[in-house]
Symmetry: C2
Subunit: 483 residues, 2 copies
């Protein structure tokens, strides 16, 4: 992993310097990392990127050339550069595990650390978590649209730079893709890699059938041929069938054909019929070319006979929403052990933050389905012997009493006192966890268009704290006490 | 620079293996890297990413752990892995210099190399050039909208991963941004870095004025204060003015205020008036918050008094078009020294490629304005003593005769026989070149909505070659000879 310590907005360093000079190094700050809105037509996001965030924090140190560069800016004094030379993260980080289903306004990650340290982490944590969570959330929609068909991530060439390709593929696999074309992602994370040949292979031979024969000779086992270089139904599929027959005579069963252009519904149905009639009902049809969740769903509705989906540009860039918009907001300061909750106000009610050191609970019913989430203050306790009242901040008079519930705390400790206390799971385990997570969502939350909004509630105590910070005249007695 | 040799689609390696096994290692291939369409409402793109593409090619080598991983896939034999162990790029690359204005269908880069090598480069070159060209093209629009106002790149936290932030900022600076908040980009490329403090700074003090005083104490020179944490006009600007007066008493002139929310047109006009009345007409107003070229243009039209623009999410992700869609297509093969032009046909005429080893000329008028581009075969010569006929492929009967023109060859040699033969210019020089390039475009090509389409012509010889490959019955005698 590269050292990304300087990969930060300059203002993190000028603020650090300010805290350093003002003698505020002892102030402990609590920051929440969260996003405010889902992507369009999406009710949930899939958390991803924690592993790379952990690596970033573990590698945080300023090398001599970093310090020389900072000195050249003529903004900082030598004492501060000395402080940076010795810099190591010493705080606590809690986060939701990768693969978790997560909702707007909920902390994906919470940093409690001396304010100088917490501030430095802001930009890189946002960059890493925003990106992977964005792509995982998109991939979850794509995988759902494919209804169990294998989705392969094919976007490297259109990703926004190397990392976007490498870690975007990782995120896509977390949320349901079964393979990637990206060999480096395969090597780094043990992801299955997939791919056969391109149009240029076919064009490098005198004709299509020579190209197919050559490919089948080199890869007789698991041979997949790209059939749309010239004319899919008139030449590509018939030539593939000829070569598949030759393969079978040699004792090999062919694997599939791929089509990358044209009307994939019509072409796949015709190709399926031709393959079946030729005695190749087991040969899979793979489609690629500007696919996304909407086109996949429509193709399936139109009866397309596609078994495998190669999804590139639109997934690796989350084309309909290329930024998650996650933010990192001060929730509290702890000075001499006393917590001072902090709130960011705004004329836009969506931008008002939730104050205080908080935790996050998910409430499940007896079938294990997710009912709602509850954000509450860290020191609040829930009495499991009593029915749980959920109190919705935008719907003050409505309460929801849950008699039989189970609770799960979503934020888990990752760093304590600067030490990693979390076992980073392998990717396959994250993928399986993500599958389980999505299975706890009722269909109304996974509907592809206009899904229902999942309830994220504030506890009574948190609600009253927030109101009292917004309006010092607020009296909690005006709010019905629910517990 | 990391070794990105495995950052490739698996099919590049399977095709390489195929060429290796079929004894086609001696075939030389010519690939063109180009895009088919501009971003919406854009008539041109700005080429960027060549420096990182060069580094990628220079670092191309398979390490032992790469080979071990490839062996584990059970696709390749040991002879091929031995070939990879010794792999170095040995071919030629021509490219347009970074900062060049470039149009759809024109090669940004052309690789001539043994087909195995040329194929391997495809994915990474596309990834790097697609990304930086996309962001540079977006930034050119943003910088143009700001009409000379300083644009600062602020997008790192929303970029699609670390590289998207680091190299996206680089691309944005090439095309007209004057600074970036990204410290690592500053260190790597000598880009000016910018930034002051965040809302969290203000929230870490008992009140806004204490926060401002503290910041002004630490940074008395060039002090810029963020005025929208609580209420921009009622508290932020008045508190800033108080602190600016205190600074002036200490002998320092304040630099600016920044506003990140609210109606920036109204707020900036009011803030300007308040600052002027208080005796601070030199204090600059910086705006940030979901800006893009359209909002900047509208704010200026509405008389906003904004001097500096901090542009984040929408530029660093090219939000309205997050992928350029560049492709890498086989244009020719050279077997035993004989060129065999290649064409990719498609039922979609936009997807038909231009065959052959080509060069690219830009035609300028006497004032140095770009008139049109001409794509022609590498061995064609233009007689400068004769008027130039431009022949438009979609408008067969129209010709344009240019009496007084000058020509510039856009593709320059970068690698010859695997050796770098190009001096990579420093970023400041690329930025200046880009400014000159954009100045050669008539206004109709830089109009923000529905710009005119710039003419990219094929030479008569290239046109006839293309037609004859599309239709073997094509006779060049049916086309009027123009030269």
């Amino acid at each position: 992993m590269r050292n990304l310590s300087l990969m930060t907005d300059l203002y993190e360093l000028t603020m650090m310097y300010g805290y350093f000079k003002k003698g505020m190094a002892g102030h402990v700050a609590v920051f929440d990392l969260f996003f405010r809105k889902n992507s369009p037509n999406s009710a949930y996001a899939v958390a991803a990127g924690l592993e790379q965030a952990v690596e970033y924090v573990q590698n945080l140190r300023f090398e001599e050339d970093d310090l020389a560069y900072l000195r050249s800016l003529e903004l900082f004094d030598e004492a501060f550069l000395e402080y940076l030379r010795a810099f190591r993260f010493s705080g606590d980080i809690y986060a939701v595990p990768e693969g978790s289903v997560i909702f707007p306004m909920e902390p994906l990650l919470r940093v409690t650390a001396p304010i100088m340290e917490a501030q430095l982490l802001e930009t890189a944590l946002l960059n890493i978590i925003n990106h992977q969570t964005l792509i995982a959330s998109k991939a979850a929609r794509v995988a759902q649209a494919a209804k169990g068909g294998l989705v392969m991530e094919f976007g490297l060439r259109r990703a926004q730079g190397p990392d976007a390709g490498i870690y975007g593929a990782r995120a896509a696999v977390i949320a349901g893709c079964g393979a990637s074309s990206n060999v480096l992602t395969g090597k780094l994370f043990g992801v299955p890699v997939a791919g056969t040949h391109a149009h240029s292979w076919v064009m490098s031979f005198p004709d299509e059938i020579s190209a197919f024969r050559a490919y089948a000779e080199v890869f007789p086992g698991g041979c997949t041929l790209l059939v749309d270089t010239y004319n899919t139904l008139k030449s590509g599929v018939p030539n593939a069938i000829t070569v598949f027959r030759e393969l079978r005579e040699r004792g090999f069963e062919p694997a599939g054909i791929r089509m990358d252009s044209g009307d994939l519904a019509y072409l796949s149905k015709e190709a399926r019929r031709m393959l079946d009639e030729a005695g190749f009902p087991e040969v899979k049809i793979c489609a690629s070319g500007d696919l996304d969740e909407n086109l996949i769903r429509d193709l399936i509705l139109q009866g397309a006979r596609i078994d495998l989906w190669g999804v590139g540009t639109k997934m690796i860039t989350s084309q309909d929403n290329p930024a998650l918009g996650g933010v990192y907001k001060l929730a509290a300061e702890i000075i001499d052990g006393v917590e001072i909750p902090k709130i960011k106000i705004s004329e836009n009610p969506e931008k008002v933050t939730n104050p205080g050191l908080k935790k996050l609970l998910r409430v499940y019913n007896e079938e294990g389905m997710a009912m709602a989430d509850l954000m509450l203050l860290e020191n609040e306790r829930i009495d499991p012997s009593k029915p749980l009242n959920l109190f919705h901040p935008t719907d003050t008079w409505k309460r929801m009493t849950i008699e039989h519930y189970s609770l799960r705390e979503l934020l888990v400790p990752v760093f304590r006192g600067g030490q990693l206390v979390y076992d980073l799971p392998p990717l396959g385990q994250i993928q399986a966890f993500c599958r389980e997570e999505i299975a706890t969502l009722w269909e109304q939350y996974t509907r592809p268009l206009n899904p229902h909004v999942y309830k994220v509630d504030l506890s009574y105590e948190l609600y009253c704290l927030k109101q009292s910070l917004l309006d010092p005249a607020f009296a909690s007695s005006s709010v019905p006490k629910l517990q």
